[in-house]
């Protein structure tokens, strides 16, 4: 999937949550992406993040770093929150 589109979508999500303060916004954005993004979308944006993450808003970077896919031992064992 095109990183540009995913970056745009992730930033859009971040911009809704950012009014709640940095910590809540990162948590809210991460939760949203885990709940609604299909794994290949998450994998693609994490790859983009690891490649420098051009274009990602700061709060979105924080959020993405919390996704299980971003961890070194990334796998699908960890289910998203309910």
């Amino acid at each position: 999937m095109s990183p540009d589109k995913l970056v745009y979508m992730a930033n859009q999500i971040g911009r809704f949550f950012v009014t709640q303060g940095q910590e809540k916004a990162a948590a809210g954005t991460a939760d949203h992406i885990r709940k609604f993004w299909e794994p290949r979308m998450r994998t693609a944006i994490i790859a983009h993040l690891k490649a420098g993450g051009a274009g990602l808003d700061p709060v979105v970077r924080l959020a993405l770093e919390r996704l299980p896919e971003a961890k070194p031992e990334a796998g699908r064992q960890q289910a998203p929150p309910q």
Partner: protein, 957 residues
């Protein structure tokens, strides 16, 4: 496969006409009618009281859909202690009253009245066998008329001739007795005021508009007048052509989210007419032109009745057997999964199909495909409603029933055009407005509700497209800063901390009406006035449509509406609430049934282990716990090469989804597209397999309307192509190695009820008993839930959300200086696949571009000129209509016709939370044009080629 039992008795469903409407009084009075003691609510007419006791008083001008009028003088009765013979329809009951409905004197008067009516009627005898089409003779016989002393050749009333201008009904003035039931139906039931009585006395006659033909008048062809006519003067042309119906079944309309109940009236296996069912709790006996008349598509010659295949989309179609078609689908899906992985295929459920059919498609995906790549057209309409209302209230559902509007004092209608898109609800709203309720319209266009006969909005806030969140936050600003909060409600029912955060945010000066006036284009004083009216005007109800959801901030705007309702205490009782106007007949149901890629039926996330375990146990399969792809993600993934096959049930994504070029590219990149539909729709141009579907007349099942009301759809015709849509899904699943076996859709609903707590009490039998059920329906609410959040929100405490306005990135500039917004009109429905194949095209044969005279003049465009409409995404041509309904800078069109393809110009921008496309804001330029664009020419060629069906060669013996 179908073991559906034929109805044992095929008779006409007859509804009792009580003559006058039900009284809502709580006090009862007792009277005597023909020696029987009868107790009825105060305010009931004698006519109704008698009928409720089974005593039928003859009548012509009275019917229980309309207020009593007292003109026909047939329903006269005698009341002890009162002089004369009062009309029973206009005389209310009183305690101790003694009424006689039969006497020699009454007999004589009634015969005398009937004699006069008949003497002016186009008959030469009272013999009903000689005039089977003259309904008045039945009434004459009922009052015992045996002779007409004046003869049959006296003077007749004025008769300008039969008006056959309407495609669906005709008006024969000769049979008219000027009882004015049609005039009153047009006023009281429909609220259009198109009919009147012209002339006086013997010269009087019913007239449409200013003595025009029906088709030329402001008549909207709802048919209420036809239904009201007691003499057959106004009558469906189908009844004249096919004869009177012989049997009927009650069913549910397959058009919009209002969910009107109809009697499908049949003759043999042919539908003669659809008559709105008075016990239908959504429509209360009313309908619009689509539901009542526009069902002819079911028999249209372009319907595909045989499965078809082709290797490549450039080849002509080849008709094949069901076995071959299903085997191809299964083998292709299996081949593709083996080659590209389990997640390379998916499906789209239909908001036009039944709950049971939708449930099976998502079951097919989750259990047989082994992934969660399922989505539905709600993605592109009301997905933000799901997200926004779940976040604030705790569940994705409108809060009220339609009856609630009868208790509303102030209605906000935002981004919805009910008179066109939800006409029967609009009629009910207009009735309430005529009784004195106030209206606030928030819409870029001056929709009909802003000002129409006997209706005028207190405020019309004509916002610039894309500024919904700004104006809603400004309304909240006024409510908070002027101290109009219902603090007790908020303290008791909502999260107080979240409220305080929200209140502090909206109170900021940058959110004041004065600060947002420029961005929204609405004067600050109007915003203040509207906020005060909503907060202090009594019961405040919000009704909203896709003008709220189809934006980059769609979900935020839904939350902003929920915030307003909570802040003013307008949730949890009749007359208030937050009500999404659902577009398609079963868009609510398709969402409820688990059509979204992240959740099971009843809105439970697929990562919830307990819920998933329940489904795994029931379905005997391990299910994926990761969310699947949404429609737009599927198309992106297809362009990237990781998504290769799609099963589409009853959905035309090529025409209905935004940025047609992108949709086309995604579909073209797939190796197997399966389209299941009635017609070769636009999406089918890219399909490899076509499976012919069935109409709502051809199957059993349920639909769920915008009020969460579950209603039965009943089969009246056998599936023309052999199978109901749910059976086709079962065939595919079986061929893929996962048999799903059901004898009847009721068994599917039983499974839904077992697996979905909010449907636990639902079954076909229970729906039949109750007429309809609004979910949640379970132990706590065994008869369903008309109004939600009565004793607290579903999520516990209501949650205020901060709604920061973020302008869309789709911006006007020198190249694209105008804002395009899209919508629909009354006579056409969605992509038009059905309505374009009916006589409804007489009202709307093409999409038109509405443009303000100022913008038109600047560009040298005259009314009716061909113009080119161009955006960053694409361009198309259509004809202009110059109108002040749109503001300068804003233009509008519909998306009903594939040769316009309005979605060629709409963009990829979408709601931040749900990816619902931003249909309502596109920056465009409009310029004079000579003819179709290159895209339109290429597309027409593609359509021509892709609809070819190879000549069938008969196999040699």
């Amino acid at each position: 496969m179908s073991l559906v039992q034929e109805p044992t008795t095929r008779t006409l469903v007859r509804e009792i006409d009580y003559g006058t409407p039900r009284s809502k009084a709580e006090k009862t009075v007792t009277l005597s009618i023909d020696g029987r003691q009868i107790s009825v609510p105060e305010g009931t007419s004698i006519m109704r009281a008698a009928m409720e006791a089974g005593i039928e008083i003859p009548k012509l001008c009275a019917t229980d859909m309309l207020e009593a009028f007292g003109s026909c003088r047939l329903c006269l009765v005698e009341i002890e202690g009162r002089a004369g013979t009062p009309a029973s329809c206009t005389t209310p009951v009183a305690d101790g009253m003694v009424v006689h409905t039969k006497s020699e004197r009454l007999d004589r008067i009634r015969k005398g009245v009937m004699e006069l009516y008949v003497s002016d009627h186009p008959v030469d005898t009272l013999d009903r066998a000689k005039h089977p089409d003259v309904d008045l003779l039945a009434t004459a016989a009922a009052v015992g008329l045996e002779d007409v002393r004046y003869g049959f050749d006296g003077a007749r009333h004025r008769n300008p001739g039969i008006d056959e201008s309407n495609p669906y009904f005709s008006f024969d003035p000769a049979k008219c007795i000027v009882c004015s039931r049609c005039v009153r139906a047009c006023e009281e039931v429909q609220g259009t005021f198109a009919l009147t009585v012209s002339g006086r006395g013997f010269d009087s006659i019913i007239a449409a508009g200013m003595d025009e033909k029906f088709i030329e008048s402001e008549c909207v062809s709802c048919g209420a007048c036809v239904q009201a006519c007691p003499t057959g003067s106004l009558i469906e042309k189908a009844v004249i052509e096919q004869g009177k119906p012989e049997w009927s079944e009650v069913t549910t309309c397959g058009y919009c989210g209002v969910g009107c109940a109809f009697k499908a009236e049949m003759r043999g296996d042919q539908v003669v007419r659809m008559v709105p069912y008075k016990d239908g709790k959504a429509n209360r006996g009313h309908s619009c032109v689509k539901g009542r008349f526009a069902w002819g598509y079911a028999n249209h010659k372009e319907r595909i009745l045989k499965p078809m295949l082709r290797e490549k989309i450039t080849e002509p179609w080849r008709e094949v057997s069901w076995e071959e078609a299903i085997a191809r689908v299964a083998s292709e899906f299996k081949r593709i999964q083996a080659k590209y992985g389990r997640s390379s295929i998916g499906a789209i459920t239909s908001s036009r199909c039944t709950d049971e059919e939708t449930f099976l498609v998502q079951k097919l995906v989750r259990a047989a495909f082994g992934n969660n790549n399922v989505d539905t057209c709600a993605r592109v309409c009301h997905s933000p409603t799901g997200y926004g209302l779940s976040t604030t209230f705790g569940t994705s559902a409108g809060t009220q029933d339609f009856d609630s509007v009868e208790h509303t004092d102030v209605a906000i209608v935002m981004g919805a055009n009910p008179t066109d898109a939800h006409p029967v609800f609009a009629s009910r709203l207009k009735k309430r407005l005529r009784q004195g309720a106030k209206l606030i319209v928030i819409d870029p266009r001056r929709i009909d509700l802003v000002r129409s006969p006997h209706i005028e909005a207190a405020y019309h806030l004509p916002i610039l497209p894309g500024t919904n969140v700004a104006i809603l936050t400004a309304l909240a600003h006024v409510i908070v800063t002027e101290g109009l909060i219902k603090e007790q409600f908020v303290r008791e029912r909502c999260e107080w901390d979240a409220f305080q955060d929200w209140a502090a945010f909206v109170a900021e000066e940058r959110n004041s009406p004065e600060a947002v006036a420029k961005a929204t284009g609405v004067p600050a004083e109007d915003i203040r006035g509207a906020a005060r009216l909503y907060a202090t005007g009594g019961n405040g109800a919000i009704y909203y449509g896709l003008g709220v959801t189809e934006h980059s901030q769609g979900s935020t705007a839904v939350m902003a509406l929920a915030n307003l309702a909570m802040a003013t205490g307008n949730v949890g009782r009749p007359g208030v609430g937050v009500n999404p106007m659902r577009g398609q007949n079963n868009v609510q149901g398709s969402c409820d049934m688990g059509s979204f890629p992240h959740e099971f039926s009843g809105y439970r996330h697929i990562a919830n282990d307990a819920v998933r375990a329940m489904f795994e146990a029931a379905w005997g399969k391990t299910l994926d716990n990761e969310p699947g792809l949404r429609i737009n993600n599927m198309l992106d993934a297809a362009c990237d090469g990781s998504f290769k096959a799609l099963y589409i049930q009853g959905e035309d994504i090529l025409q209905s989804d935004p940025n047609t070029h992108h949709v086309a590219a995604g579909l073209a990149a797939m190796e197997c597209v399966v389209s299941q539909d009635l017609f070769l729709n636009e999406t089918a141009n890219y399909a490899h397999v076509f499976l012919p579907g069935s109409t709502f007349l051809e199957k059993d099942g349920t639909y769920i309307n915008a009020e969460r009301r579950i209603q039965l759809v009943r089969k009246v015709v056998e599936p023309k192509a052999g199978y109901a849509d749910w059976e086709i899904t079962c065939l595919i699943s079986e061929a893929m190695g996962y048999p799903m076996r059901y004898n009847h859709p009721s068994e599917i609903m039983d499974e839904i009820a077992r697996l979905t707590p909010t449907f636990a009490g639902v079954s076909f039998k229970r729906i039949e008993e109750l007429g309809s059920i609004q979910w949640p329906c379970n132990e706590k609410a065994p008869e369903g839930t008309p109004v939600m959040h009565m004793n607290g929100f579903v999520r516990g405490k209501g949650r205020f959300m901060v709604t920061e306005y973020i302008a869309t990135d789709e911006k006007v500039g020198p190249r694209y200086p105008l804002l395009l917004t899209t919508g629909r009109i009354l006579s056409q429905y969605n992509v038009g696949a059905q309505t374009r194949r009916t006589a409804n095209v007489v009202w709307h044969e093409e999409d038109r571009l509405e443009i303000h005279p100022h913008d038109a003049e600047e560009r040298g465009i005259r009314d009716g000129d061909w113009v080119k409409l161009a955006s960053r995404a694409g361009e198309t041509t259509l004809r202009a209509r110059i109108t002040e309904r749109v503001a300068p800078g804003v233009i509008y069109t519909t998306f009903h016709h594939p040769n316009t393809q309005a979605n060629v110009v709409t963009t990829d921008y979408a709601d931040w939370a749900t990816s619902c496309p931003e249909y309502k804001v596109t920056a465009v330029q409009v310029s004079p044009s000579n003819g179709p664009t290159e895209w339109q020419e290429q597309y027409n060629e593609l359509v021509r080629k892709s609809r070819r069906v190879a000549a069938t060669v008969e196999a040699a013996e």
